[in-house]
Subunit: 409 residues, 2 copies
Amino acid sequence: MKHFESLEGFGLIRNLVQDAGTRIVLLVLDGVGGIPDPLTGQTALEAAKKPNIDSLVRASVCGRGVPVLPGITPGSGPGHLALFGYDPLRYSMGRGVLEAMGVGMELAKGDVAARANFCTIGDKGVVTDRRAGRIPDEKSAELCRILSEKVRTIDGVKVFIRPGKSHRFVALFRGPGLSDRLTDADPQKEGKKVPPVRPLDRKAGKSAKLANAFMDKARKALQGLKPANGVLLRGFSMRPDIPSFGEVYGLNAAAIASYPMYKGLARLVGMEVIEGANSMGDEISILEKNFKRFTFFYIHIKATDTAGEDGNLEKKVKAIEEVDSLLPRITALSPDVLAITGDHSTPTPLKSHSWHPVPVLIYSKVCGADGIEAFTERECNRGSLGIFPMKHLMPLLLANAGRLSKYGA
Amino acid sequence: MKHFESLEGFGLIRNLVQDAGTRIVLLVLDGVGGIPDPLTGQTALEAAKKPNIDSLVRASVCGRGVPVLPGITPGSGPGHLALFGYDPLRYSMGRGVLEAMGVGMELAKGDVAARANFCTIGDKGVVTDRRAGRIPDEKSAELCRILSEKVRTIDGVKVFIRPGKSHRFVALFRGPGLSDRLTDADPQKEGKKVPPVRPLDRKAGKSAKLANAFMDKARKALQGLKPANGVLLRGFSMRPDIPSFGEVYGLNAAAIASYPMYKGLARLVGMEVIEGANSMGDEISILEKNFKRFTFFYIHIKATDTAGEDGNLEKKVKAIEEVDSLLPRITALSPDVLAITGDHSTPTPLKSHSWHPVPVLIYSKVCGADGIEAFTERECNRGSLGIFPMKHLMPLLLANAGRLSKYGA
């Protein structure tokens, strides 16, 4: 039976991976998928003028990837794990970890991160506002400086504080023997006291004490301040024990992204993050400069998602058109495999992430072109990849790169 | 949990199977799927003139089957297991077993088969050529005769030797209490000694001794011969404990094939192999003669794969056209269900098996025709079967044959 177990998870892929000296570029347009706009009847991909992408699609295979399961709207974490070939239901990431990555904090193994709020606590010790009146970013940054100065270590455990948006911040604890098996210190609604952090198993006792000590120290540090005189902690979590992307796939992988969250996700799976990108153009320049150094490139484009979240169809169309204008610089490098897709859909009519399957294009000389004329949601429905679990994208890219040997004789 | 277990594997199908007196023909064109030829832009299926198949497809449902998983290139073993409805990741077959079937050896339960090489061993006992200069088939056959005569039994275990291509042969051991949990006796590269076979668990001790005794006896039998004076053994394996096709599906199944490997695969799942086919025409004649005797026919056509492996588009087109010319003889028998597909794709530009999903056509009076005009890779992308795991083909055939009752009230 051991023989079969070795084929589960990444066992199958690990057994088949071979080196071929080939290069793969995975271009991720965050939130690229959409639904037709009620006014125009077109999605952003349908409305965009994108001659370069549409020329590529004619020589490509297409389909639509389901990041988690049909009907499930993924966050950026699960969406990216699926893109990188990890089952997003098996390798889940806690909210604390995602929040920490979102603000650019590096998580070492054994660190515990919590998503934190500044809150308002009334005279009787009850929470009167869980978000402290949604204080502005600058105010939050100032309070984080105060906390950082006054709470540097607790019983030898280092404490790191980093502000997020508005009332949010991240508290990260670093020291030996920590556990994330902890309940939230959050009453969930106003009018109740902050419950203490409780351990969920025996080994978490020390960490619960630590978290409660932090709550006390923070309360003292903020005493008298208005409206933020307390903190809430939730989503205690540690970085998941995740197999390394490079080791599983035999690839030397680089990540090119401008937002902290995506750099964090790439680091989590063991990619090397190349810093310095502040625009799409920068990202492609970094790709060009480093093309010989790596065998896999993950390029993250944020603008498509931002436009989707804003419900701004025109802006999303423009973002896609900008990617299209940069595509010739990528194809000029002649990657053996070039894939274009997203981590999830962000339809402008919804102004949020959604469950709609994500258009996928894979180009290689041996892909077996589907003969599709335009890279759009509806055209991709007709492709030979079908409507497929996104976690299968990586094996498809490896196969197209000649990097997977035959299974069985 | 028992309740769920009964629905896993074949539990569901077993519970739903009913007799309907209907007949199913599964016509397998080995390696039929392809990718467009770089010169003509057409696949073999697109280039072939096949009026009969294309007439049938208009009344059929279509799709593309994924034999193992997206991106995974299957060998013939996994490809056929999927066609027969077995999860190819659950029921895997060792290399020794497949090699034995490929040379037409029958494996009884408890037999252990190994894939073997004749090799050259130098003065210091190191392997100087793992393939003994790739000796010709005739030379190998002669050496196998010598081995067969000199090593008939070891400690009461019978030894069977059968030559394969060039330096390859199969060693099969038959006796009580054997195990295949053994390491390879193969240094993997030249310049090293042949490592002894080691047991991977306690029960394999006897078999390891046996294998090492065989290695010694073979070495003595070949002493002084050039260039083949030693043997390597690898891929020790036993036939998997696989549920019988006939028992699971309630079908009386016949296999019509001209190559040993495919007869072996059919026997492995318990089909009755009807011998005597040396050509496509023979195969159809056998079908005609035996049509009343069975309720399921697996017909294997090898020529499509051979042409694919040769990279010969014209030959692959001709093979498809020959099948087309024979199709009226099959439809004249009025099988209740007729399916045409392959065990994997073998694109001529790749000259090898590939991961590309395989075109599938299912005809029955109740299939719900998709209205597709030609049986090609790209047309099949649009069919109602979608891009689906090939292991689901058998339930689809049974359903079309009225052989599956309703699940649940």
